[in-house]
Point group: C2
Chain length 168, copies 2
DNA sequence: CAAACCGATTGCAAACTGCTACCGGTTTGC
DNA sequence: GCAAACCGGTAGCAGTTTGCAATCGGTTTG
């Protein structure tokens, strides 16, 4: 079981890596953000990469300790826990947007999986801010201005449309 | 010895993590970028975090395989190899800037180690572009417009000034 | 009332990490 | 000219982490 130990240095990049620098933590946050997966089973089975259940349990515990996610009983489903992103995790949106843009440019991405990164990059900081407000509403219960269209729905619709194209 | 295996998925974020998602690779790139460390020993001994020599050797080999760095004999020093960042690695500047800004905001950073992240964040995309041009000159030999002041020197001077402040 | 679903836990083998010591050759400083 | 420091690594080894498959007892669904 992975625990949180003292940092190797006080460098911002190093500290960020000590929180996020492994192969799974950011993927979990990605799925909670862009896939709107909010409990254990959804993260376990509907993940592109196929995380093992013990690793997922370990990372969820660790990310909770680190204050990146919270977990509460899901009302109306006794054993299900509802996972939520915290404000620090929500502020990773620009990091993920840049990381996705970089990967799309330099690595062998799949077309349908790259469409969200492309839209996010094209939208720029304004779209990221809208998306962060939407995540604050979904995960923290902070209402946002009414009438603004859902960024998440837009990204999901584009992904589904791209997936449905015959020439996969 | 870590090797490069086939990706778990074609998602841009996942692919980026498969390249950079460990505790050391991005730190090595950070030191080459911001600390201008260009050979093995400089990365080994002048690192804040204290990487082990076998891990450093492994990561340098891996990053070379992945096309993030190149290595050539240093003219005038027979055993020294000169390490250089490639264009894809240079394009990580915005990712590192955002990651540093995020860490500075949410994690217990040290003042003198945070000053560069702060300047980089304040400078924004224009400063990042200047810095990337400077890195292209240093690492790829691509000359840039003369007369522009060195971003690297500015960051380093600010760091040294902050380190010299008495109340450490 | 059975089947599927819920969040895990266990056992185990393989891979990776971190540490210390060391290597033979090269360059530096006196 | 010669010793000391420096060069990019490698070897051995213990401890940790990972990945995988199987399983668990309780809950909800059909």
């Amino acid at each position: 079981m992975t625990t949180v130990e003292e940092p190797r240095s006080g460098c911002p990049i190093n500290l960020s890596l000590e929180v996020l620098g492994d192969k799974w933590s950011l993927l979990i946050i990605r799925d909670m953000m862009f896939g709107n997966r909010r409990h254990f089973r959804a993260l376990l089975t509907r993940s592109e990469e196929g995380i093992a259940s013990n690793i997922l349990a370990d990372r969820l515990r660790r990310l909770t300790e680190l204050g990146m996610i919270t977990s509460e009983p899901d009302p109306g489903h006794k054993q299900r826990m509802l996972l939520s992103l915290t404000e620090p995790a929500i502020q990773l949106v620009p990091v993920l947007a840049h990381l996705g843009a970089w990967g799309r440019r330099h690595l062998p991405v799949t077309r349908e999986l790259a469409i969200r990164a492309e839209l996010l990059e094209r939208g720029g900081p304004e779209l990221w801010a809208d998306f962060m407000d939407e995540l604050r509403e979904l995960h923290l219960g902070i209402k946002r201005a009414p009438g603004t269209p859902s960024v998440l729905d837009g990204l999901t619709a584009a992904f589904l449309a791209e997936s449905a194209r015959a020439d996969s």
